[in-house]
């Protein structure tokens, strides 16, 4: 089947039930999207389908269809997406394992709500677990990204 991943159409041979996560990681060589729970519990596998965040670990590849898949690798060529810049500025990451998912969820949140409140952030980010507890800086980075997007500093 064909998959539109990060702006390129890729041909993959996979069982239709194979989760998108493993197609990305094991068949397409895109390991930036992480396996954390396999059950849509932790958010580490978050990718975008047509800009909307989904859990790739429970998304059968056959259901993707012609929707555009964006992974952390496709967010920006050089880490320069406004959310990534905010993440660097706020010194968010620790072990880093959940951060692809955190960033993808945050990007989708800011697309929908350019100036999210703390409550908006709580609601949007509740599905993304971080065992290192980077939550305070994730929150700070999302607010910062919102300011950067508006052109402020």
């Amino acid at each position: 089947m064909k998959l539109d991943v990060n702006g390129a159409v890729r041909e993959v041979e996979a069982d239709p039930d194979m989760p998108l996560l493993w197609v990305l990681r094991d068949l397409l060589g895109l390991p930036g999207t992480k396996f954390g729970c396999g059950a849509a519990q932790c958010g580490a596998c978050t990718v975008h389908l047509d800009g909307r965040p989904v859990r790739a670990c429970v998304t059968p590849v056959a259901t993707v269809g012609d929707r555009k898949v964006t992974t952390i690798e496709g967010l920006s060529p050089d880490g320069g997406h406004v959310v990534q810049r905010a993440w660097a500025e706020a010194d968010v990451v620790q072990c880093g394992y959940c951060q692809s998912g955190q960033i993808m969820t945050a990007v989708a949140l800011l697309e929908k709500k350019p100036d999210p409140s703390d409550a908006d952030i709580d609601a949007a980010m509740a599905g993304n677990i971080c065992r290192c507890g980077t939550y305070p800086r994730v929150r700070e980075a999302i607010h910062l990204a919102a300011r950067l997007k508006r052109g402020g500093a």
Partner: protein
Amino acid sequence: MSLSRRGFLQGSAASLAIAFYVPTAAKALPRLGPPAPPPNAFLRIGADDSVTVVLAHSEMGQGIWTGLAMLIAEELECDWAKVRCEHAPAAPVYGHPMMGMQMTGGSSTTNGEFQRYRMVGAVARDMLVRAAAARWKTKPKKCVVAKGVVTAGKQRATFGELAEAAMKLTPATDLTLKAPAAWKLIGTPVRRLDTPEKITGRAQFGIDVQFPGLRTAVVLRPPAFGATLKSFDGAAALKIAGVEQVVATAAGVAVVAAHFWAAKLGRDALVAEWTPPADGGADSAALMARFRDQSRSPGAVVVDGGGVDAALSAGVHEAVYEVPYLAHAPMEPLNCTVKLDGDRCEIWTGTQFQTGDQLAAAKVLGTTIDRITIHTPFLGGGFGRRANPASDFVVEAVQVAKAAGVPVKVVWTRDDDLRGGYYRPAYVHRVRAAVDAAGAPVAWDHVVVGQSIMAGTFLEAFMGPGGVDGSSVEGIADSPYLDGLAAKRVTLHSPRTAIPVLWWRSVGNTHTAFAMECMLDELAHAAKVDPLAYRMRLLAKHPRHAHALATAADKAGWATPPPAGRARGLAVHESFGSIVAEVAEVSVEGGRIRVHAVTAAVDCGTAVNPLGIEAQIQSCVAYGLSAALYGALTITGGAVQESNFHDYPVVRMPDMPTVAVHLIASDAPMGGIGEPATAPIAPAVANAVFALTKQRLRALPLRLGVA
């Protein structure tokens, strides 16, 4: 300088790199086996002026990827923008300066390496300066170093230009490190060096290892601790597209496949028969009941000042505190990649314990550790789970690779990870105290019951007299509150069960601080004394504890009433050489405990990177709060019932309080920072819940009774 320089001259068109010895450190370390270890290289300077710091410890979130580099850079005077890090291979030369073995744990990386890494920087700078002086026919003391450039008058050369000549010089052995007042980098907030790869998905974790020919394996493990494999049938698994082999491991069955998904489906399709544990299997509720019974009589003596029973006969405050078994649940499930080639074994795994893993792999293969190469990618969280004296996830992967005859990456699912053992042991503390007229303790009897982490491992040799595992009781007998108290008795029962246990971020302090700080709080309330004032009185001879506690209380506004519907609780605890006080502000909403704000004061001695320290305090609070509010494993018939984050919940964004961190300026010896803030949060929250509800919750996770 007995080792050849040739081995670490990395010649290529792109760069000429040099490495620097620290000969005394190398000599002090034990040789674990022939042949000679790789050169003691902690630093490479490229012709392109790049500075590569080689880390003897594993980055698992705690920030040493930045902190250790700061130590070298401080003395080297290089351009910070040119600094990169990489993990060292497994080799004796990278042994922990205090522990000998190559490992990461005990919150001991930065303080343990404080001398060695700074000295590497100083030795390197000296060699670069002498190389420059020789080139310009001047004296080294006429040379000035700044931002990776050496100058003398109008002469100027970058480190990269001097590196090749510097490499040929003999390292000095008589250098003096900078005085703290001269530090430019140490003590300043520095952003992490591993951010670029971690925000772009480029960072390689163990689970991301990939190379041609590599297969993925998922393993069926015993369904209960103590169960053994009777027989298995892999026919159904082998019918799944992508599944290539079904092989036995020492304890289970591995399905080897082209990719994870096939291996997982294959594993789920295995048919296996197991012999159940002979005694019906461990039961966590029954164990807790047994521990509770055992706590009624004294165990092995940790300390006994005498006179306790007499002092307690006049009436006591008694309380029993309980904590359950806990999984570490790092975000990256366990995994290990193994490639065998003749008698050589190459391993890629996120490990905190390279030397132990080498020894364990060598044992499986019947070879010596010099044949075992370990590559350490980034660790997707460690928290102690990846420092296992039994090297369970490495041993098993080596078995699978050996049986399958192909390189394999064994990947654990989340269920496997939660159910596969090596937990924070469950504990029961029974504390009895007698007090004087002012309510201060005059006698303290403390019985601890719980599994030893060291028993049954090669670390058993380090246990104290009477089989006392120091990690079971740390923070009790040496509590500052009980300092000078003669009638003090601490005893320990260390029952053995089939449940595998391991250190878990801050280890024994996770339960000892809970018991001590809650009991102190109970005594304060019994004496009708403000919990802060009560503690301050007892800490009169412990100014660092008192200052940390007073600071946290002051910054949290202890003297002013909390917002309506909220209450505050506090705790202070020393562990890993650092003192952390925390004040938690809580409410109860819909029967659920909600922690709004945590104010922490930290005295960790010299602070290398305040920005990283703040992150670690927040991290510890989140980790400890998961245990305080949610964490509990239920074991019945030897099987863990929880399987994923839906039934083993952890703190998520909406649960996370604000965490204000106040770093206390301190010239005390440097303590650790990756763990010490974990222990105070549970008692601080429990004490706040009492202040709010008058319910004294003595078991973790904290569960409110029905009003």
